[in-house]
Structures are given as C-alpha cells and as structure tokens.
Amino acid sequence: MNEPTPEEAATALRAVREGKEQVIRSALGSQWIWIGSGLIVFFYCTAVDLFPTASPWLTWPVVAIVLVGVVGLHTRAGSTLLGRPVRVSDRSLPLTFAWRLLRVAPVLGLGIVALAVSLLHLPHGGIYFGALAGLYIMFLSPRFQLWLLRRQDRD
C-alpha cells in the first residue's frame, strides 16, 4: 500500500471537510419549510389573540402539524417528502451543559418574551409575540442552526 504524500493527505483532509460542509448546508432543507413554519406560528398567535374563545380548537391542529413535521423529519421517507434529502448526524455535538443551553437558548428566549407579554397584559401582545417568533423562525433560526452545526467541531 502506497502511503499518500503530504499534499495528497492534505487534499484528502480538505475533501473530508468539504463533505461535512455539504451535508450541513443541505440539512437545513427547503427555505419554504422555515417560511411556512414562521407563518403558522404568526397566524396561530394572531388568531388566539383576536379570538381567545377559539383557542382550544385552534391549538390542536397546530400541535398536530408540529408533531407530524417533527416525526416526519426524523424518518427517511418523511424527510424526503419535506425536501430534506439528508439528516445531519448529532454524534459529534458536544454534550456539555453550555452546549445544551446554547442549543435551546432561542426557545428559552422566546419563552421569556411570551411570559413577559402575558404578565404585562400588553394590548394585542400575542400578535407582537407571533410576529417576533415567526420572523425568528423564518429568517434567524436557519442561520442559527447553520452556525451551531459549523461550530461543533471547533469546541
């Protein structure tokens, strides 16, 4: 077996890094999934704010959609249907407390905002919260996921 030259070894290592980057980029899937999810959150919050009595029967379809989406993305066929041909491995994600906290930080942040909105009794606070959460899901969440996945090997 011929040992690769240092140049060949460096080229091979570059190919390994490029493979990982390709998977990470593709793993975010279609932009429409993020936009659709953001719109669902916005319309749900707006509907609950404007028609509080309809809240129980509005919640169940949204919970069902979220469950179908989450379960779908964890299966090969479901993921393909949702336009995601690859699932990123989380084997190399660090298991430290700081990392776990970082991964859930946006959800915690939105939870704190929701709590503040409900405690302050802002008029139409639900609509403002829905707009904030929806915009986050549509535009910032994919970037955050990308940043998180790219950062995992550096820590």
Binding site: E3, A9, A12, L13, V16, V23, A77, T80
Partner: protein, 108 residues
C-alpha cells in the same frame, strides 16, 4: 499511530464516506450529486463499501417512487476516523519537517 485504510485511499470512496460521516443518512441522489458521479458509478462504489460493511443501504418508497438511502455503519465510522487520523499525522509531520528544515539550514 492510526493506520491508513486502503479502501479509503481512493478519493471517490473517501468523498462518499466523508459525506455520510456527517449524516445519519442521506438519499442516494444527494450523494450522487454531491460527489458528482453517475448513478451506475455510485452504485458500484456503494456495493464495494457495503460488501466491506462500511455502508448500509436501505430501500423504500416515497409515494410510488422508489428511493434508496445510505448510511455509514459504526465500523465505517471507526475506519474513517482512523484514516483521518493517519492523514493528519502525515500532513502534520510534513509541516513540522518543513518548519524544521530552514532552521537546520541556518545552523552552521
């Protein structure tokens, strides 16, 4: 020291395995487009890799369309990790030799 894996010395096979290492699973079409191979060329490489227990192949349907998904086995992951480590050793050794050489030349 980790050893080089002769199966992964082939750049195409290394590209396929590297891609799958970052994924839990990936669709055949995604791997084909990423490594820029034809269906038959990828199929041939996947057969080689699955015979050696590096890659697992699963077939299924999405609607009426048949689909194939590929994933790296634990053995494949271990072999790739060893291969990468060996490549890093070669690259680092060359770097440290290169850094040492100019110093050696200046010493009378």
């Amino acid at each position: 020291m980790a050893e080089l894996d002769h199966l992964l010395l082939d750049p195409t096979r290394l590209a396929i395995v590297s891609l799958l290492a970052a994924a839990e699973w990936a669709e055949f079409g995604f791997v084909r487009d990423s490594v820029k191979l034809s269906d038959s060329a990828l199929s041939k490489q996947v057969t080689t890799l699955s015979k050696k227990d590096y890659v697992e192949v699963r077939k299924g349907y999405v609607g009426k369309r048949p689909r194939t998904w590929l994933n790296l086995t634990d053995a494949g992951r271990d072999n790739l990790a060893g291969h990468i480590s060996a490549l890093q050793t070669i690259a680092e050794k060359a770097r440290s030799d290169g850094a040492q050489q100019p110093r050696d030349q200046t010493v009378p």
